[in-house]
């Protein structure tokens, strides 16, 4: 089980990122626990400078813009 957090205040890019992460995890058969972090105070704890951000098991793997599908796949593969 991977703990995935999507950091973002709810703009369209954040929603797209969330949907894409869910889709890729399902396609790869990786079990994830998805959490959306929407409060700015909480987002800033991760010190990103652009949203959306993606955190996997406590590590910031992405910030700013919608991640590429291949990038998401590599995050899930790397830890297996």
């Amino acid at each position: 089980m991977k703990a995935v957090k999507i950091l973002g205040t709810g703009c369209r890019n954040c929603q797209t990122t969330r949907a894409l992460v869910e889709e890729v995890a399902q396609a790869l058969g990786v079990a994830i626990e998805l959490e959306k972090v929407e409060r700015m105070e909480d987002i800033m704890r991760y010190r990103i400078m652009a949203t959306p951000g993606v955190v996997i098991d406590g590590v910031v793997v992405h910030s700013g813009g919608i991640p590429e599908r291949s990038a998401i796949e590599s995050w899930f593969r790397a830890a297996e």
């Binding site: 700015m40 991760y46 990103i48 652009a50 949203t51």
Partner: protein, 339 residues
């Protein structure tokens, strides 16, 4: 190598299309049995010529900007700005505002990232004013519809407004008007997450970033371009010459402040507004007045102020709006006076 061939092929196609726009537009209205002497013919010709021209320039400029932006990740820009003094720092911040990727939904993380890394408030504001105001969409449209002189003027004056407004805000020493939770964030720069300055990318990745930027930006604004040019075409064909001179002309002293005030609550990207502005000018509106309107619509928008409200107290918001609006006002008057 294959990429290089593809890139050159695309560039040649781009150049060929760009140099034949007028021929194609003439052929199109001839095929519809229209002539430019009638209002309908003039409007249709304007639409058939300007729409592909704007879209082609937009494609080219957004692609190049997407590549340039890979060299200026927010983390790198922050490192370049940390500890800079007022003046030099403001000029650098405004310039970096053009080339650093920015979207208004990221304004707060960026703002906090700058402030906590020791970038002075005034310098941060120069960045925050320049980043949305001078963007590739506005430049592409101005270049396409007004020519390079006006695009260059917009660039120069936009920088000037961003630099001087940042210096003025910095001189007010308003750091205590940040929201409390922002002032409470204090972390040293030693524990920043993964260094992501974008310098390690190879050219394949940078070209891919350019293509991605094109997909995102052009995919988002092409419809605004078509609608904006359509409205502009209707104004071109049907609104009589000089009808606007009486209330948007250069001799109307209150036109510039009215344009700035009108622009603040309005929210549009440059793609929708420039074609209409261009048509207004052709009908007798003054360039300074309309440019002030455009800057106000793009640089000061109600949604962005609401976002900034989360990190700034109202005193700082009011100062920000007041200083930027004054800057735009001066630009409008100077333009009307010079031209």
């Amino acid at each position: 190598m294959r990429q290089l061939i593809l890139l050159v092929t695309l560039a040649v196609i781009w150049l060929l299309s760009y140099s034949h726009l007028n021929t194609v537009a003439d052929a199109l209205i001839a095929a519809m049995q229209l002539t430019r002497a009638t209002p309908l013919g003039e409007a249709v010709h304007f639409f058939c010529y300007e729409t592909p021209k704007v879209l082609l320039l937009l494609l080219g400029i957004v692609f190049v900007m997407g590549i340039i932006q890979t060299f200026f990740a927010p983390e790198r820009t922050r490192a370049l700005l940390a500890g800079r003094r007022l003046g030099v720092g403001n000029a650098l911040a405004a310039a970096l505002g053009i080339v650093t990727p920015f979207c208004s939904c990221s304004a707060i993380p960026l703002f906090i990232g700058f402030i906590t890394a020791g970038v002075p408030l005034g310098v941060t504001f120069s960045f925050l004013i320049a980043a949305p105001m001078i963007n590739e969409i506005a430049l592409a449209l101005l270049l396409s519809l007004f020519g390079w002189q006006v695009a260059a003027l917009y660039l120069g004056l936009g920088l000037l407004v961003a630099i001087s407004a940042g210096i003025v805000i910095g001189a007010f020493n308003m750091e205590h008007y940040l929201q409390d939770w922002v002032r409470a964030i204090h972390y040293g720069e030693d524990a920043a997450p993964q260094p992501n300055d974008g310098l390690a990318l190879d050219w394949t990745a940078r070209l891919a970033a350019g293509m991605k930027h094109v997909r995102e930006i052009v995919g988002k604004v092409w419809l605004y371009v078509v609608i904006g040019v359509g409205l502009g075409a209707a104004i071109h064909g049907y609104v009589p010459e000089n009808v606007l001179a009486s209330f948007m002309g250069r001799d109307v002293w209150w036109a510039v402040p009215a344009a700035v005030l009108l622009g603040i609550p309005m929210y549009s990207n440059a793609a929708g507004i420039v074609p209409i502005v261009q048509a207004l000018i052709a009908k007798g509106a003054a360039l300074g007045t309309t440019l002030a309107f455009m800057m106000s619509v793009i640089a000061l928008s109600a949604p962005e102020l609401l976002i900034l409200r989360k990190v700034l107290r109202w005193q700082l918001i009011v100062t920000f709006v007041g200083v930027v609006a004054t800057g735009i006002l001066v630009v409008g008057y100077v333009f009307n006076w010079l031209l």
